[in-house]
Amino acid sequence: MDFSAILTAVLVIGVLGLIIGLFLGTAALKLKVETDPKEEAVLAALPGNNCGGCGYAGCSNLAAAIAKGEAPVNGCPVGGEAVGKKVAEIMGVEAGTSTRMVAYVKCNGDCDKAETDYEYSGLEDCRMAVIAPGKGPKKCSYGCLGYGSCVKECPFDAISVVKGIAYVNKEKCKACGKCVAVCPNHLIELIPYEAEKVVACASHDKGPVVMKACKGGCIGCGLCNKTCEHDAVHVENFLAKIDYEKCTGCGACQEKCPKKCIFNH
């Protein structure tokens, strides 16, 4: 039995461990990066989904930006007002009211209303269908393709495809913006939860073209514009657009619209 071998082994490992420990310990002290205690508190208040809806790479990045004052305290769209208030408390500032936003699909051209050019039998994904001739099988090149790329993308299970069109459940929607990013037709928009009326069309085509393509499309006739007493609807480039801040939800435009493409939200 050679005890010296055991002794060397134990000594070497032990001393090595000790040296490394001491080295790391001093290094940790010397290289310490001052993290703002506020930053950690803010991070704890955030939801922690790391969805990236705020535009930062994750909750910790947003927390750092808030602590530095680069991002607003209500920068988290998922947490909404509740989290905004908590963060504001930590930062010691007024929260300011953040309007809750929800995603909205600007199309009502379902299977009954929208005409198709041909039968599409490719991959069941909007990002693939949009490459097909005429930007997909629908005659309208702006509308919802209905293959549900947004449904797959939504982390909150808030979108469903009904009769060939995607619908957002506004109660479930957290406005993280993932569907907005994935939709190849850029058809999904974040609008205020409180919005009363919405234009369910995104077509910038001229009237006759829209007429041929879809029974529910906005032809840009401008009747809504003329009817509105609150200066809230404007037709730009053959498409009506509602100013949600001015809209009172009176419904006058909705009644007048010949194509019935203005809906209750």
Partner: protein
């Protein structure tokens, strides 16, 4: 000398690719190869860590363990040293090069005890490389890893929306892809 180093590098990076022919480091290879951007981040972090780990482990083995005749303790010592090294590098980067720290991000601590890192350090010892050869071998091995993970990520990005049978969705098709890549990399075996 130069020629030998070049051959060694080529051999480690392509011919006996660390993932595709030695099956080291499969975990990050499959785990972080969904997007090209994160995959290249992972690849960079691995290059960084393996090169450093090769250097340090080779120095420690040649000048400490081998001298004292306790080479059999290399596995334990390497684990210890590599883990400490990565810890230190992480602290150092966070303080001195925050930009690099931010881009390597979570990948650094993730690969602390990755088998590819330890495997390369042990291979260096097994083949009795000196310090220079060990560093070159480490770098080339890691470059091979970065190359293959980037290729896989590229393929996965392109095939992400394909209509794959349900039973093959996710990991199975990724493994099949990796297998096909391994077969393709067999083509390099006649290179040297």
């Amino acid at each position: 000398m130069m020629k030998e180093l070049l051959l060694l590098a080529l051999g480690s990076a392509l011919v006996s690719n660390v993932v595709l022919s030695q099956f080291y480091g499969l975990c990050p290879f499959l785990g972080v190869s969904k997007q090209l951007k994160t995959a290249s981040g992972m690849g960079l972090a691995v290059i960084f860590v393996i090169t450093l780990a090769s250097l340090v482990s080779s120095v420690i083995y040649t000048y400490l363990l081998d001298r004292l005749g306790i080479g059999y303790l290399k596995t334990i010592v390497f684990i210890l040293v590599i883990a400490a090294l990565v810890q230190f590098v992480e602290m150092f980067l966070k303080k001195k090069v925050p930009a690099l720290y931010a881009s390597l991000g979570v990948f650094l601590p993730l690969i602390t005890t990755n088998c590819a890192v330890l495997g390369t350090a042990l291979t260096n010892v097994q083949r009795e490389y000196n310090v220079l050869f060990a560093v070159v071998n480490g770098f080339a091995t890691a470059a091979g890893f970065a190359l293959s993970i980037c290729i896989l990520a590229g393929i996965r990005e392109k095939t992400a929306h394909n209509d794959i049978p349900k039973a093959f969705q996710g990991m199975p098709i990724t493994l099949v892809t990796a297998g096909l890549m391994a077969i393709a990399f067999c083509g390099f075996s006649g290179l040297l």
